[in-house]
Symmetry: C2
Subunit: 209 residues, 2 copies
Amino acid sequence: MGRTSDTRENLINSAIELIGTRSYNAVGVQELCEHAGVKKGSFYHFFPSKRDLTLEALDLIWKKFKEDTLDPVFNSDASTLEKFGTLLRTSYEYQSSRKDCTGCVTGCGFGNLALELSTQDEGIRKKIEEIFCEWTRYLERVVVQAVEEGVLPPETDPAATSQAMVAYIEGMMLLGKTFNDPYMLKRLGEGVLQLSISRKETAEAYSVG
Amino acid sequence: MGRTSDTRENLINSAIELIGTRSYNAVGVQELCEHAGVKKGSFYHFFPSKRDLTLEALDLIWKKFKEDTLDPVFNSDASTLEKFGTLLRTSYEYQSSRKDCTGCVTGCGFGNLALELSTQDEGIRKKIEEIFCEWTRYLERVVVQAVEEGVLPPETDPAATSQAMVAYIEGMMLLGKTFNDPYMLKRLGEGVLQLSISRKETAEAYSVG
DNA sequence: CTAATATTTTACCAACTGGTCAACTATCAG
DNA sequence: CTGATAGTTGACCAGTTGGTAAAATATTAG
């Protein structure tokens, strides 16, 4: 019954586009509405607040990232080396295209919002934490596979290593954005494989002082 | 001649404290003034804009970080392993204390502002880029030393490796903030040493597809 | 003691913030 | 054709945003 419309989706996509290239606080409800071709009243018909829109936008980009990148890459029968390589290359190409059309390397939408809002909005922080956890689990499976293939050493701790990889990838995106240089991702990408952490060895190495 | 005051310093310190625990856009000029015990007119007597205050705040935290952490650690005659270990432990302890007194892991002030403002303010982006460059140079010297000590393999590329380390540390801080868990830094810290990149080997490993 | 100067204060601004509400309109199921 | 329902609209709100300008007040060097 009643009318149907794609206003809801338009608003979510506008949020992804605008907040993704600038920041949460730099984009107002007004601008979001103008970009979506919608009046402010409609905004609050669909979303109780800007924050709730953002939460849904996070869900959507994570879903898309899984469908478009993570699943195709990690469900393929490629070697682990190829899988990591493809993931990194995809990130590089995406940031490259962002720079071409917006003038800026925009970085990772999750990392961006995490640093801007984690200390101020527990709900958003929690959501991104969960996304990072899921992402880590994706990588963990490949790390296990890599150990089986002999690409990573047998003492490798898959949980620690995959989390370190997520950290490294986020740091890579952060530097790419800071230097506004997509090529940074290409160069840094070469380091991910180095991150295989074997608990026993390294834990001791640092317990000085 | 004329009056003297510490209003300027107070404002810079307020900016470090407030923007550092929240975000640039979440803290207004008004609040900055209240925290510094100063009227808004005084603010604009010393700084042409909030942005300029922020630029100076960045200078100060970088200067302090060098004096309090980087210089003491890296000019010591400790082994490279101890140097990296101390740097990491200092980060952990600082974020730990932040959590104790603010309730939040606040992360790296440079990374925070970089992700929030890089696409919107070229001057701030450039300043943080320069800071990351200087930081990389600090680490590079230690990487060279580590190669000499035999802690890192002789094929190590010091420039690439030190940059990868900065990326990794920033990613570590990002995850620490996202999970609001200082212990994350402790666990992830164990991975830095793995990052020694030898150009020839890894570059080829990824040139698939 | 004075005069030049540095700092502080007060009052003000237009533009914008996120958000509300009630009236209005299009649309779909029966 | 009707009525319930879903979506749209525009006017409105109080509070805040970054920033301005001029008058008032300390302070210090000479």
